[in-house]
């Protein structure tokens, strides 16, 4: 229990602390002054985010990895970076959920669950053993599924929660079976031991690995394990959708990559191909399914599926290609900004008008110029159009995808960008070009929402140009 321990466990400890603070606040304050509470919560979250950057473990002693609890918990500079990204995203999500929470009643519960989920994600990132891995994965998933139900009066909300929890339970169970097989063949659940005992070519291990792969792929909504995504996105309250799209996806992509690279490198030859097929069909299906989508949230869901496919291309460069993981983290940062900008607007509009169809957005520009530009910038970033950061992110991912000469993959991914542009442009078209008799009225944007959008847009416009961000991230992967 030395200083290092606290430094390393700091993100989790703070989160746990926050959860209890909220719990106490809930119990103590029966009046539920929502506004005050929200202010309080947001400040705490900002502090949490800031805290991530200070008093970090001292890596200068040549120590690149901190291990605690008999290898169950480990942390590295990269993981701390990832946690910081997630913390930051959490702040933005909290900002954009302000309006929605302000009217609802379960504010503190929302925060408790959200933070629990976040805690789970942090543990997941840091897990050094399959037990922690599985436990924290459940901790990350179950509260989010419950959160999906937080629009208690909206019939779609429990349905989304139901789909979410059932599918994820199923996927977890499959994954668990895979873990048992790995355990049975290696005799260990700690990653370090598992790695040592894995034998290339052992069918049972491979089968166990595939089960685990599928479980993770489900969380990442790779095709064909993606079908829950759109429904859950649509039914959940928009802030929860944002959390699902950003936090959950963000975590799992890191976990996916690190698991595959660090735990199962012996199967690289196999999972590389599996991954390639997954990426191809994920990108294609995700994009094609979005083409005819009229619901904006569902469209974003499919788009996020496709984006996951692009993100995974960063892994195709193989273990030796340092720019691959860099590109993943880099794009993830960009993706946080782009999606959250988009969700901020969607949340706002949905909150005020209850409209979330693309056709509802017709003529949106007539009354809401700034919001429209935010949407446009966010969508262009998602589509990978310069000068937005999405362009750079996607470019580097595509580059990484082709690093080992997988030109088919590259071609499929590139050509899919056309399809993706099509549906993004449909939204842009509805907003800017189409005329409507009854356009959405002028929407007043609250301070926090405006802040979110401003931060996101600034991020989208700046990150790409500044090569330093990329180099900074790259520094974590260059050894």
């Amino acid at each position: 229990m030395d200083k290092m321990f606290f430094q390393m466990m700091k993100p989790e400890l703070i989160l746990t602390g926050l959860i209890f603070i909220f719990l106490i606040a809930k119990i103590a304050n029966r009046a539920e002054d929502n506004k005050k509470f929200l202010l309080f919560a947001n400040i705490l979250l900002i502090l949490n985010c800031v805290a991530g950057f200070v008093w970090t473990p001292d890596w200068s002693k040549g120590l690149m990895q901190g291990v605690l609890f008999d290898n169950m918990y480990h942390t590295t500079p990269t993981l701390i970076l990832e946690k910081n990204i997630l913390n930051f995203a959490l702040v933005l999500i909290s900002f954009l959920s302000y309006d929605w929470l302000n009217r609802g009643k379960n504010t503190s519960e929302f925060y408790m669950l959200l933070l629990s989920s976040q805690l789970g994600m942090f543990f997941l990132l840091s897990s050094g053993n399959f037990l922690m891995f599985f436990l924290s994965m459940e901790l990350a998933t179950i509260p989010l599924a419950a959160l999906s139900n937080f629009d208690l009066d909206r019939p779609k909300s429990p349905e989304a929660a139901f789909k979410s929890i059932m599918s994820s339970a199923f996927a977890s169970a499959i994954m668990l079976f895979g873990i048992t097989l790995i355990y049975g063949t290696t005799g260990a659940i700690a990653f370090s031991d598992v790695i040592n005992n894995l034998m290339p070519g052992s069918p049972l291990q491979i089968m166990g690995f595939v089960f685990i792969f599928v479980g993770l792929a489900f969380k990442l909504s790779l095709v064909p394990f993606h079908l829950w995504t759109a429904d859950v996105y649509e039914g959940s309250p928009v802030p929860v959708t944002a959390a699902l799209a950003v936090l959950s996806k963000g975590t799992f992509i890191f976990v996916f990559a690190s698991t595959l690279f660090t735990v199962f490198p012996v199967f690289f030859g196999g999972w590389e191909r599996m991954l390639m097929i997954s990426i191809m069909i994920t990108i294609s299906f995700g994009n094609f399914m979005a083409v005819r989508q009229n619901n904006l949230k569902r469209l974003l869901a499919f788009s996020s599926i496709a984006q996951m496919g692009y993100l995974l291309m960063g892994m195709m460069g193989g273990p030796d290609y340092a720019s691959g993981p860099t590109a993943i983290v880099y794009f993830m940062v960009i993706y946080v900004f782009s999606s959250l900008a988009m969700f901020a607007v969607v949340a706002l509009v949905f909150d005020r008008t209850g409209k979330d169809d693309i056709s509802d957005y017709k003529g949106f520009y007539q009354n809401n110029k700034l919001l429209s530009w935010v949407v446009a910038i966010a969508l262009f970033s998602l589509a990978g159009i310069p000068p937005t950061a999405g362009f750079f992110g996607k470019y580097f991912l595509l580059t990484a995808g082709a690093a080992r000469g997988d030109y088919y993959l590259l071609a499929v991914a590139c050509l899919n960008m056309i399809v993706s542009l099509y549906y993004y442009l449909r939204v842009v078209k509805a907003i800017f070009i189409d005329k409507s008799e009854t356009p959405i009225e002028k929407i007043k944007v609250g301070t926090l929402n405006a802040t979110t959008m401003a931060i996101c847009c600034a991020g989208i416009l700046i990150i790409g140009f500044s090569g330093d961000v990329f180099e900074y991230i790259s520094g974590f992967f260059m050894n």
């Binding site: 609890f69 008999d70 169950m72 519960e109 629990s116 901790l139 419950a146 063949t185 069918p203």
Partner: protein, 171 residues
């Protein structure tokens, strides 16, 4: 064939039979009861393997907790007596075939795999050992998962309360 072997087969039969009936029985309440049998059978298997503590936990949590919860929820929702709707034919067929195929696949792989046991003395599964390790932070210590699970249970509790609490009706 020794007695323990016969007991194993009986337990296995209870487990599997209960499971099969649980997933096929048209009446939901019966389904839950079959599930109960199956879970008890599994607890029996644990006993059979001398994992008494796990078996006890299985009985307490599953049989005493989860199945009861399920039965409560059955009463809360559909009522216990009626027949459930028939499963969708095509999907059942497909699922059945897929499961069969999957089973064959896994079985095939398991059969072809060699399992290598370690040549180390058994640590035993007494409650004492389990308890000591559960709260230890050093080697073979499971304090961290224990805490994580506690957070999970807290979260689950909060979720369940918020979602299921009765006062929240429409409007």
């Amino acid at each position: 064939m020794s007695a323990s072997t016969i007991i194993f087969y009986i337990l296995a039969a209870i487990t599997l039979g209960g499971a099969i009936l649980a997933v096929t029985s048209p009446k939901i309440f019966r389904s839950a009861i079959y599930l109960l049998f199956s879970l008890i059978g599994i607890a029996g298997l644990y006993f059979w393997l001398n994992y008494e503590f796990i078996a006890a936990v299985q009985v307490v949590v599953y049989v005493g907790g989860i199945v009861v919860l399920i039965i409560f929820s059955i009463f809360l929702t559909a009522g216990a007596g009626g027949d459930m709707k028939d499963p969708i034919k095509v999907r059942s067929l497909f699922a059945g075939l897929a499961c069969l195929a999957g089973y064959c696949l896994v079985y095939y792989v398991i059969q072809r795999s060699e399992f290598v046991a370690v040549n180390q003395p058994s640590i035993g599964s007494e409650v004492k050992t389990i308890g000591a390790q559960m709260l230890s932070t050093t080697e073979h210590g499971y304090l961290l998962p224990f805490e994580v699970v506690s957070m999970l249970l807290l979260a689950a509790m909060i979720s369940a309360i918020v979602i299921a609490i009765k006062t929240r009706t429409t409007k």
